[in-house]
């Protein structure tokens, strides 16, 4: 059981190639991290897997537990178990957090079945308390006027409520102070299980102090150029990405 990316090529609408043959497997139960310089295609990878229309897949495949993900619409991929914690979460004015998450959960139920409101709120408050999100946020419009830290914690709240199978966290640590980072890590770690796979996209080693990865990969110029264990991240922190110049594909 895994999220399997094979030889994935993708480009922008104007044809500019961004992903140039990505190969990556994230088995359920494992946490993988991707690091790499700006422009390497890390965020693009997450958006392509999620199905963003601005990108066109030109070759390769993505399967989730054997299911061809690229054949599915954005919302179908989500309901099939894929979750993306956004780097820049969108605001949805006029729609409360409570109603938004409720709609997302309701979308997963068979037609005609209604979400139990009492159980829902009980669950929601429990997760909000764990993430130290003030209960008043249920009535706030999704991400509207939220600080960076509040937005990222809101992403983790949705992660905890939706219980996906494969989770991609796109630079979830960017813009967070240590305290916010610890809370985000707490939420992610609470969701770790033998049935769930994580892909953390990050610039900084710091996040990995709190969420220990099983494997670390380095991405450059649209490809995974090196893979290793957790200590690879420490190596990058010390030496930077210079070594990639030697590895850059022709």
């Amino acid at each position: 059981m895994s999220l399997l990316i094979e030889n994935l090529h993708a480009s922008l609408e104007d044809g500019t190639p961004i992903l140039k043959g990505v190969n990556l497997e994230i088995p359920a139960g494992e946490v993988h991290a991707i690091m790499g310089p700006n422009g390497s295609g890390k965020s693009t990878l997450s958006k392509v897997i999620a199905g963003h229309e601005a990108y066109k897949v030109t070759a390769g495949s993505v399967t989730m537990d054997g299911v061809d993900v690229l054949e599915l619409d954005i919302d179908q991929r989500s309901r099939a178990g894929l979750f993306l914690a956004f780097q820049y979460p969108a605001e949805v004015p006029g729609v409360s957090n409570a109603n938004f998450i409720r709609a997302a959960l309701q979308a997963r139920l068979p037609k005609g079945e209604e979400l139990d409101a009492v159980a829902y709120y009980k669950n929601l408050y429990a997760k909000m308390d764990l993430l130290e999100i003030n209960r008043k946020f249920t009535a706030r419009s999704v991400n509207e006027g939220f600080s960076g830290g509040e937005k990222k914690r809101n992403e983790i709240l949705q992660l905890m409520m939706l219980e996906p199978t494969y989770v991609i966290l796109d630079e979830t640590d960017s813009g967070l102070d240590i305290d916010a980072l610890k809370i985000v890590a707490k939420g992610v770690n609470a969701m770790r299980s033998a049935h769930r796979g994580f892909l953390l996209i990050t610039h900084y080693q710091r996040l990995l102090d709190y969420i220990a990865p099983d494997h670390v990969h380095v991405m450059a110029a649209g490809q995974i150029v090196r893979s290793g264990g957790a200590d690879l991240a420490l190596e990058l922190e010390e030496n930077g990405y210079d070594f990639l110049k030697e590895l850059a594909p022709a």
Partner: protein, 479 residues
């Protein structure tokens, strides 16, 4: 997927009052005389109407003078849409009683109308009336309890003919004063052929807890073409009045031209709520205006979803010191529709305040227009106006226009005008869909979110139906 958005507060008093038992209703047709003024509008038509209604002489003369004014005024197509030229005044029936109204068979009712009834949970008995399969809906039984209560408290709640005949001393002084016959071509038309509508008087100091509903006065004339409403709230009185319904109402009559006059005397408050969902063949041209005296308030809460063309600019003349006027407006224009709405705020006393919040949604090739007039003259002091008009374009062929006309003279006033046009952004849609919400449901959420703070202003019964109705309208729009 229907998304039941939970209300934040539940005013149990209001809910009980509006939950009249809609299953009560006897659908046999009582004996009624059949009246038909025929097609076209002449002096004979006026006399026919006055004869049938047994109008007092002064009303008959009022109508005749209005007919002359109507004929003299040109169509306002120098600023309004030329679609108005498609109205054939000679083909219209200006007065038709219950029995004469053409009925449809169920076979002729469009499938989407039937689906809307289903989705909005309209009781079976009402569907026949709304769909035009039956010419009337008898709500007398449901209404009679309410009427008794109100009469005990000194409230007058009758239709226009009865009001002018039986309560002349109350209504005549204000009749045609807030909206003079010559205000525009269609107020003149209404003044000539008006029928039905509500005439309401609330005595001093009485603050009604329950909203009054046009529904209580349902007969064919209440949903009629040329309703005339006059509401007078005496000093310190308060009421909310609701008209219209979210369910689509089939009409053979293509022209609706209503006039609504509100008078809020010192310290009084009138809130007038309308949800309009006429069928797509209707020209809905309405003149609505309120007069607010010292410390009084007139509030228009208006939602326009139906009709082929709606032209409506609810207005408030703030005539007394510290008077307040407000217009809250939601419009949804789908393919084949033009919602041309706005507000008129006329400041005529010191320290008066006006507020306009208008949100429109254009879907398919629909067109929404905002026209807002604000006038504050030089000699006044301390007046404030705030206007916000936001437009949402759903498809790239939808259209929106904004024509603000703000005239503020003098140097002791504060005016603010804010306008925006937006689309449901691709990023917002991607975000919602990535949470498993389908594209259609995501659009509905975004649109409901856009108007959410205005929907809250509507009484609960309407706001729930409104949200469902908008979901339905949005369903066909994706793509």
């Amino acid at each position: 997927m229907s998304l039941e958005l939970l209300p934040d507060t539940l005013d149990t008093d209001t809910v009980e009052a509006v939950n009249i038992d809609r299953s009560i209703g006897d659908f046999t047709f009582p004996e009624r005389n059949k009246f038909d003024a025929g097609r076209g509008l002449t002096e004979k038509t006026i006399d026919y109407i006055s004869d049938v209604k047994n109008d007092p002489q002064w009303v008959r003369e009022f109508r005749h003078r209005a007919l002359k004014v109507f004929r003299d005024k040109p169509m306002p197509t120098n600023w309004a849409t030329h679609d108005l030229d498609n109205i054939d005044f000679d083909q219209i029936r200006y007065y038709l009683s219950d029995g004469e109204k053409p009925k449809r068979s169920w076979d002729d009712v469009p499938a989407d109308v039937l689906e809307t009834f289903e989705r909005l949970g309209i009781p079976q008995q009402e569907r026949a009336f709304l769909a035009g399969v039956e010419a009337q809906f008898d709500s007398e039984a449901a209404y009679s309890n309410v009427k008794e209560e109100l009469t005990k408290q000194g409230v007058i709640f009758v239709n226009s003919s009865e009001g002018l005949k039986e309560h002349e001393e109350i209504f005549r002084p204000w009749f045609g004063k807030v909206i003079p016959t010559g205000d525009n071509k269609f107020s003149a038309l209404n003044s000539a052929v008006f029928s039905g509508g509500s005439f309401i008087y609330i005595p001093k100091g009485l603050k009604l807890k329950q909203p009054l509903q046009a529904y209580f006065r349902i007969n064919s004339e209440s949903f009629g073409q040329f309703e005339r409403t006059l509401i007078i709230a005496d000093e310190g009185a308060e009421l909310m009045y609701m008209e219209g319904c979210t369910a689509p109402k089939f009409e053979t009559a293509t022209l609706h031209s209503a006039v609504v006059e509100l008078v809020a005397l010192k310290g009084a408050k009138i809130q007038y709520v309308t949800v309009q969902n006429w069928s797509s063949n209707v020209f809905n041209l309405v003149t609505k205006r309120g007069l607010a005296m010292e410390d009084a308030e007139v509030r228009w809460i208006d939602c326009n979803i139906g009709s082929r063309l709606t032209m409506k600019y609810p207005g408030v003349i703030m005539k007394g010191r510290r008077a307040r006027g407000e217009v809250i407006s939601i419009a949804l224009a789908n393919t084949g529709q033009h919602q041309d709405t706005g507000a008129k705020m006329i400041h005529a006393a010191d320290e008066t305040t006006s507020n306009v919040v208008s949100k429109s949604i254009s879907v398919g090739t629909g067109r929404a227009t905002y026209r807002g007039q604000v006038f504050i003259p030089k000699h006044l002091k301390g007046c404030k106006n705030n206007t916000e008009c936001d437009a949402l374009l759903i498809n790239n062929k939808s259209r929106t226009d904004t024509y603000p006309a703000i005239t503020v003279k003098g140097n002791q006033h504060a005016t603010q005008h804010e306008a925006s046009v937006s689309q449901v952004s691709r990023e917002m849609l991607f975000y919602m869909m990535q949470r498993g919400i389908s594209e259609g449901a995501a659009m509905s959420l975004a649109v409901n979110g856009f108007i959410n703070d205005l929907v809250r202003e509507f009484p609960m019964e309407y706001s729930v139906e409104l949200k469902r109705l908008i979901d339905l309208e949005m369903e066909g729009s994706v793509g």
